[in-house]
């Protein structure tokens, strides 16, 4: 078990990544400066909390409704404001975001909770189900028994362990970690290797130490995972059972896995979108509005479409947020929240998806890491930002991406498949 404080930070990193990515679509890829993005996060949070907690809809439907409601608000805000440019757009969106906040404040208190928010004053909602409640797998042990041997679990039995589910879930988990961590590791290695080869070509030992770390890491990963697979068999056969449940079935990891999948899925969707005719039109508008209209791109239509896409994902982030924090109220979604997202985008690099994740991670961790420094916390935080902007004015990634090469054997597989399809098309 990771302690709850760290757990919350990890969850927030992932939610902030989605939130900042949705803003980057608007600011970084379309060049439209929106300062009211927190409004869409708020709508998403309220929509999902109400739909799931007050009306008992399934959680995934709640997330979808959150996105749709945010996009509807995006339509209301976007239609009048997107005709404006630059600073005017920023001010107009800021104004609309404040209005949204105030409207949430005066909505029926029974459901919306007024100033105390949800579940605060909302009588219809006792508790917004948290991700850890929603994602508890059959066979998962209750958190209070985590890390204990069966003999130590006094009182009620943990839960009924479903052995088959246990085994299936263990395998899914192990394979998922291998793919996600292994690929991430591989990607990072290729990237570093490329950088090293380009920058410091003469120094062989750097390359060799990099290789050592890579292969060493892979071996460690493989060995630990093999150990886990063995453990899970023990689990099935009744040995060290609680150890197994602890390692694999703790809901905490299910939550992390769920969020990782959510982030990857949304990234995948966004990358596809940006590589399509729609995405190219959106980027063309950023590069040169006049030239793009001369090429037949309906400027307003594409700006609005892109704004709706951005607000939809912001709404989804809001939905996830509602199920990750115990309570929230309209005042949390103020200008500062919008600025937070803006900082993440600017720090990482406008127009870079990788940069967004980097920005979201750093700016979620930094304020927490500085907690020890007490009253100097915000001073150091602000100073860091100022220094970063002086030395890295385009953000850490500029508009470039860290996009690793797909391993050769996989690429060959994909090419074959594509080739076969192309042949059948012809």
């Amino acid at each position: 078990m990771i302690n709850e404080y760290i757990e919350t930070i990890i969850i927030l990193i992932m939610i902030n990544s989605i939130f900042a990515l949705s803003l980057n679509l608007i600011i970084g890829f379309n060049g439209q400066f929106s300062l009211g993005h927190a409004a869409f996060l708020a709508i998403g949070a309220y929509a999902s909390a109400i739909v799931v907690a007050a009306y008992n809809f399934p959680f995934l439907i709640g997330l979808f409704v959150a996105g749709v409601m945010a996009a509807v608000l995006g339509l209301v805000i976007g239609v009048p404001t997107l005709r404006l440019r630059g600073d005017y757009l920023a001010i107009a969106t800021l104004g609309f975001a404040e209005i949204t906040k105030m409207v949430l404040l005066i909505m029926p208190e029974k459901i919306f909770g007024g100033a105390t928010g949800i579940p605060g004053g909302a009588k219809e909602i006792d508790k917004v189900p948290q991700l850890s409640d929603l994602l508890r797998m059959p066979g998962a042990i209750a958190p209070e028994f985590a890390g204990k041997l069966p003999s130590q679990c006094t009182g009620a039995a943990p839960v009924n362990i479903n052995q088959t589910m246990n085994l299936i879930f263990c395998f899914v988990w192990i394979i998922a970690t291998l793919i996600v961590v292994g690929y991430g590791f591989y990607a990072l290695y290729r990237w570093l290797k490329g950088t090293v080869e380009r920058r410091i070509s003469g120094k062989k030992w750097v390359l060799w130490s990099l290789r050592l770390v890579y292969w060493g890491g892979l071996i460690v990963l493989a060995v630990t995972n093999t150990k886990r697979i063995n453990d899970s068999f023990y689990g099935v056969f009744g040995v060290h059972r609680s150890h197994t449940w602890n390692s694999y079935l703790s809901t905490q990891w299910t939550v992390f896995l769920f969020l990782i999948v959510a982030v990857l899925l949304i990234t995948w969707l966004c990358v596809n979108y940006l590589r399509s005719t729609y995405g190219r039109a959106v980027i063309a508008i950023r590069e040169d509005e006049i030239a793009s209209t001369m090429l037949g791109i309906g400027e307003f239509k594409f700006k609005l479409m892109n704004f709706l896409v951005g607000t939809f994902f912001a709404g989804v982030a809001g939905g996830l947020l509602a199920h990750s924090i115990p309570s929230f109220n309209p005042f949390e979604f103020d200008l500062l929240k919008s600025v937070d997202a803006l900082l993440m985008v600017v720090l990482g690099g406008m127009g870079s998806i990788t940069g967004t994740f980097f920005g979201a991670t750093v700016l979620t961790i930094l304020p927490e890491a500085l907690r020890q420094s007490k009253e100097w916390r915000m001073v150091i935080y602000s100073l860091t930002l100022v220094l970063l902007m002086i030395f890295k004015p385009k953000g850490f990634f500029g508009s470039s991406e860290f996009s690793p090469k797909i391993p050769d054997f996989l690429r060959r597989l994909m090419d074959n498949r594509r080739g076969a399809k192309g042949a059948s098309d012809a």
């Binding site: 399509s276 063309a284 040169d288 001369m294």
Partner: protein, 256 residues
């Protein structure tokens, strides 16, 4: 094909373009010349819908373009290049052309998000078409480099390639030879000729280089203070007293 009838554009008290009539037929290469500030680029902006004419009408093959938004006018078949290049500088050469091509292809937003087979197929078509256009304009070897990293001469070619990718009927070129050396200018002019012949394009060309315009254009229109002061073949224009006056007067002002 393209026809301007008594078009005027008025900025406050200034008649930037005054009762101008021009026509460009398919396969015709016309020049638009005049001293600085004569309103040539304003004419282009009026045709492409950036300015709405205060008086007169602009027709393209019988449809009136006056109040259409720019992007619709483009889809009707008018493409242009810019005096100071407006490439998508931070995108690749290939993407510059793809963006111009995209309007001719359609798949739904959902296809785009999920990158369905339909989307992949159409994207492959777009890519193949973009490469063939780049090949035509001698830019294939630069396909993956950023537009801003191209040498200036090639950037000019890219802008024409991008304009041609929208498959226009009328091409408006705003000072295509500005900033090019003699050899580059010559190759560009040859290309413009070829494009005209191959696609039966109507081309309207703004150019300062008199020698060049005289050598290439069939009909030349001379503008001064927004008014058409002469129209005709190169020799007619060269011997027209009003044209000589406009240009010499211009020269005197510069010297004074």
């Amino acid at each position: 094909m393209l026809e301007l009838r008594n078009v005027s554009i008025i900025f406050g008290g200034l008649r930037a373009v005054d009762q101008l009539s021009i026509s460009v037929r398919a396969g015709e290469l016309n020049g638009l010349i005049g001293p600085n500030g004569a309103g040539k680029t304003t004419v282009f902006n009026a045709i492409t819908g950036v300015y709405v004419p205060n008086e007169g009408e602009i027709f393209l093959g019988g449809t009136i373009l006056n109040k259409m938004p720019t992007h619709i006018i483009c889809r009707k078949g008018i493409a242009r290049t810019f005096q100071n290049l407006r490439l998508f500088k931070n995108l690749t050469v290939l993407d510059n052309v793809k963006i111009a091509l995209d309007r001719n292809y359609r798949y739904s937003l959902l296809d785009a998000f999920l990158r369905t087979p339909k989307c992949r197929r159409i994207e492959r078509e777009i890519e193949a078409r973009a490469y063939s256009i780049l090949d035509e304009h001698g830019l294939v070897s630069h396909a993956k480099s950023l537009a801003k990293n191209l040498p200036y001469g090639l950037q000019k070619h890219l802008e024409i390639a991008r304009a041609m990718a929208t498959s226009p009927k009328i091409l408006l070129l705003d000072e295509p030879a500005a900033g090019l050396n003699d050899a580059e200018t010559e190759s560009l002019m040859k290309k413009i000729h070829n494009l005209r012949d191959e696609y039966k394009l109507g081309i309207l060309l703004i150019e300062h280089d008199m020698k060049l315009v005289m050598g290439i254009c069939e009909t030349i229109t001379v503008l001064d203070y927004g008014k058409k002061i002469a129209e005709g073949t190169a020799t007619e224009i060269q011997n027209n007293p009003r044209v000589i006056e406009a240009y010499l007067g211009d020269e005197k002002e510069v010297k004074g």
